[in-house]
């Protein structure tokens, strides 16, 4: 068996414009990314550089134009059943209560309703929402919805967890709380995590490894850094650690040019 949980090999994604078939846009090119079992890898890059595209390829939601995806050594076709996905935007079903949202994945896998609900209840308790199972998503705050989504993803006990800027919509305090909680849950189970963010602080504080992507189009990895900070970490405290500052300076040196490049491109597109 391969010791890589998820391998994206020579991935290229080219989109054709819907209106004009001769117009093409290459979002991702020549990208190889490997995540070991139990490893926490963050991918940072300027906004709109194709980070989410990469994650969708890993999830099996999007088929790459060329290249291959391997999951624990097996080539992937269709949905990646060993992965759980936490989306950036609202992904809960608004017509189901929090408890039923967490239970739905278990029910999809054929678990009887009563058992699925009791397991879902335990997961809700683990993310601190024990008394909120009967609330509908619109009755929950943004942070609570994210916790519910986290419980929904983790309830299926996936071997790979894909996260697409899951906390970008949260305020800074809630965000740090949730980052620590995710780290605790991860430390207990040691799953492979591929974490997408545009926040370098978040990436360094949480990961074993940080991959920097270039600005689009034709995004590819341009730097890779091993984060050798001791675990367990507290995301707020670790930020003052001298090694953190050193790493941050190093990575930012690579990232800054790309961010500026990406920003310029957006300005040009708007003009």
């Amino acid at each position: 068996m391969s010791d890589f949980a998820l391998e994206l090999l020579d991935i290229q994604c080219t989109f054709r414009s819907k209106d004009d078939h001769s117009q093409r846009y290459t979002a991702v090119a020549d990208t190889t990314l490997r995540v070991r079992a139990g490893e926490f890898v963050s991918v940072v890059g300027p906004t709109g550089c194709g980070k989410s595209t990469l994650l969708n390829v890993g999830a099996g939601l999007l088929e790459p134009s060329s290249g291959m995806v391997k999951v624990f050594g097996q080539p992937l076709s269709g949905i990646n059943a060993r992965a759980g996905y936490m989306f950036q935007s609202e992904a809960l079903m608004p017509w189901r209560s929090a408890l039923d949202n967490v239970a739905v994945g278990l029910q999809y896998r054929g678990m009887p309703k009563a058992e699925a609900r009791s397991q879902a209840q335990q997961w809700l308790a683990r993310v601190g929402l024990a008394g909120f199972g009967d609330r509908y998503p619109h009755q929950l705050s943004g942070g609570m919805r994210k916790r519910t989504a986290l419980a929904q993803t983790l309830a299926l006990d996936p071997d790979i967890i894909l996260m697409d800027e899951p906390f970008s919509a949260l305020d800074i305090q809630t965000r740090q709380l949730m980052e620590n909680e995710v780290l605790d849950l991860w430390a207990a189970k040691r799953k492979a995590v591929l974490f997408i963010t545009h926040d370098l602080d978040e990436a360094i504080a949480m990961s074993d490894r940080v991959v920097v992507l270039s600005a689009g189009p034709a995004t590819r990895p341009i730097g890779e850094f091993t984060i050798d900070l001791a675990r367990p970490r507290d995301v707020a405290e670790v930020r003052t650690h001298p090694r953190f500052v050193e790493l941050h300076t190093q990575i930012w040196g690579v990232l800054r040019d790309e961010v500026l490049k990406g920003y310029e491109q957006q300005l040009r597109k708007a003009a």
Binding site: A59, L61, I79, N80, A81, A83, G84, Y85, F87, S89, E90, A91, L92, M93, P94, W95, R96, S97, V104, G105, Y108, R109, R135, Y136, P137, H138, Q139, L140, S141, M144, Q152, L156
Partner: protein
């Protein structure tokens, strides 16, 4: 208390307006010519009494001949309501099924698109004679007419509802391992249902319209039939009484739908409801 119209005394103003209109109608109908075309409110009221009440009234100043208590509207009203409910249920189920099918099968929707547009823009009331020919003068020709009205409302709403499912919710359900059938049951159907419910008020009203118009064009029973008969003998009072009864029951149907809607749609944020944290 101020007499200016406001939220608080709106009810009083509404009732006041009704009284004024009724009085105007009453005094205008003192003239025989006007009474012939517009009826008399007191006679209309007497007709409604005779339809619903099993006991008559002895001769009195308002009704010099007294009022018979026939209580004979129930079978007609029952027929009309039965047609409405049948058309509503059949039209909704058909609309739901077709809407889901077309929204989830791009090939079918591509081919059928012009036919659907044509069928929707056709003035469907004109189908009534054909339905009469096919299904006879019983209730089914009326049900068929009303179904054609209900079907398209529900169909377009379901179609839209499925199309507008949030792509993130859909992708999430797929990542959680939903099969095609489970997607239909747990994502498409609930999403479409909310759109159907927003159209239920319109569609129950149209079911009623279909049933009454069907009866009016040819039947042996129903409130539309009563109105048709009265019109044939220039009995304007009965026509107006029929209109009032129909309006009242349309309001009742609408209220029932509202009740069901509130029961089933608790998950939807109400306008003005604050977020509970």
């Amino acid at each position: 208390m101020s007499m200016r119209p406001s939220e608080r005394n709106a009810r009083a103003w509404q009732i006041g307006l009704l009284v004024v209109l009724l009085l105007l109608w009453h005094f205008a109908s003192r003239s025989d010519k006007i009474a012939f075309f517009f009826g008399e409110p007191i006679q209309v009221l007497g007709r409604v009494w005779s339809w619903f009440m099993p006991v008559g009234l002895p001769p009195n100043p308002l009704f010099p001949d007294g009022l018979p208590g026939n209580a004979d509207i129930y079978q007609h009203l029952g027929t009309t309501l039965l047609e409405t409910v049948l058309a509503f249920v059949i039209g909704t189920v058909l609309g739901l099924a077709f809407g889901l099918w077309l929204a989830l099968s791009p090939a079918a929707s591509l081919i059928l698109d012009p036919y659907i547009k044509a069928a929707n823009s056709m003035p469907r009331v004109i189908l009534a004679p054909i339905f009469g020919l096919w299904f006879g003068l019983g209730i089914w020709s009326k049900v068929a007419l009303a179904v054609t009205l209900v079907f398209f409302i529900v169909f377009f709403n379901v179609y839209q509802g499925v199309r507008e499912v949030s792509p993130t919710v859909l992708a999430n359900a797929r990542m959680l391992g939903a099969s095609q059938r489970q997607l239909l049951r747990t994502v498409y159907l609930p999403s479409a249902t909310s759109w159907v419910f927003s159209s239920l008020h319109t569609s129950v009203g149209l079911a009623f319209v279909g049933a009454v118009v069907g009866e009016y064009l040819g039947s042996a029973r129903g409130v539309g039939y009563l109105i048709l008969q009265a019109e044939g003998t220039f009995d304007v009072n009965t026509v107006f009484a029929g209109i009032i009864v129909l309006t009242a029951f349309a309001l009742v149907l609408d209220g029932v739908v509202g009740l069901i809607e509130r029961r089933l749609m608790t998950w939807q944020p109400q306008a003005g409801e604050t977020e509970k944290i």
